[in-house]
């Protein structure tokens, strides 16, 4: 998964601190580590960033594994979705809100809505064929590489759940983490102003 590619360069914009980045042929195609990191907590930690860079693809693969194996083994869409969203949370912890925004595939509400459509759609579909709600159908097929594969329609429902969980956690992180950071800065400025007013005695009595 390309986590530091195009989007990251877009998001640099006004945040690009310090000297201008190298341009033209000097510009690196793709950075292995992000340059615009502003961690949410404390100073920038290279160790955490490298670990996040290495871990995130593995976490995402694991989440897909959990999603697929969920039919009759531990796992499933919910567990998979939580693991996948942990990858993003890790990215947020390591890189701050701009990194999180750069890493999201699309707006979190859209992921959430898509998941709800998929999950509810699969739940309703059997009804149109006269079967009860949430009825599952399964097919078995022999594929060249994977061997015998059982595909249950429940998997589609689980994918919906997966998307819902990812969308929900991402919107929570972006609403509570990222927006709160901005609000806190604002409130701090406000309190500062109030204190200055009181000290000079210019405030209303």
């Amino acid at each position: 998964m390309n986590i530091d590619g195009e989007r990251q360069r877009e998001s640099r914009g006004p945040e690009g601190s310090g000297g201008a980045p190298p341009e033209g042929w000097e510009a690196p195609r793709e950075r292995w580590l992000s340059t615009v990191v502003r961690p949410a907590f404390g100073p920038r930690s290279v160790l955490l960033e490298v670990a996040a860079r290495l871990l995130i693809p593995a976490i995402l693969v694991l989440s897909v594994f959990l999603l697929v194996s969920g039919h009759d083994k531990p796992g499933g869409g919910f567990a998979g979705g939580l693991v996948a969203s942990m990858a993003y949370v890790l990215r947020y912890v390591a890189g701050g809100r701009h990194e999180l925004a750069a890493g999201m595939p699309t707006r979190p509400e859209r992921v959430l809505a898509l998941g709800m459509l998929v999950a509810c759609g699969t739940a309703v579909l059997p009804l149109l064929f006269g079967a009860p709600l949430l009825k599952t159908f399964s097919y078995e097929a022999a594929l060249p590489v994977f061997g015998d594969v059982k595909f249950a329609s429940f998997l589609v429902f689980e994918i919906g759940v997966f998307l819902i969980v990812v969308g929900l956690v991402l919107s929570v992180v972006s609403a509570l983490g990222a927006r709160m950071e901005a609000e806190e800065e604002e409130a701090k400025a406000g309190r500062e102003r109030a204190r200055r007013l009181r000290r000079t005695g210019g405030g209303p009595r």
């Binding site: 919910f78 609403a175 709160m180 806190e184 409130a187």
Partner: protein, 124 residues
């Protein structure tokens, strides 16, 4: 050996009483912690309904015995719900803190006005 011991029951009791104690505090953070403890207490008491809770669910233990998966499924659902609402509560507590710079539950102004109605009229 596989029945839930007295310890688990005691844990549930402690969680319930601690949770309700914290719930009755004035500070919002304590209230949130109280809710979290009560959530754990309710989930643990769901676990207590199964005598064979120490066995693995679905996959089968050494003798193929399994524990009852239903309380665990219910507890999972309940955990999700409490988790979601707790994050919401935290956000609210944060907002109260942003506004007032403390996290106490504020009084209701209208209530206080009506409370004053019962006090004797100006005694001077």
């Amino acid at each position: 050996m596989s029945t839930p011991g007295l310890l688990l029951v005691a844990a549930v009791a402690v969680l319930y009483s601690g949770g309700f104690y914290l719930l009755l505090q004035r500070s919002l953070m304590r209230v949130v912690f109280g809710i979290i403890m009560l959530g754990h207490a309710a989930n643990l008491s769901l676990m207590l309904t199964d005598e064979a809770i120490t066995l693995p669910p679905l996959l089968g233990g050494p003798n193929g015995e399994i524990s009852d998966p239903l309380p665990q499924a219910m507890a999972l659902t309940a955990i999700v719900i409490t988790f979601g609402v707790t994050t919401f509560l935290l956000a609210l507590a944060y907002r109260v803190w942003l506004g007032d710079n403390n996290d106490e539950v504020p009084d209701d102004l209208e209530d206080r006005r009506i409370g004053r109605l019962s006090e004797p009229e100006d005694s001077s």
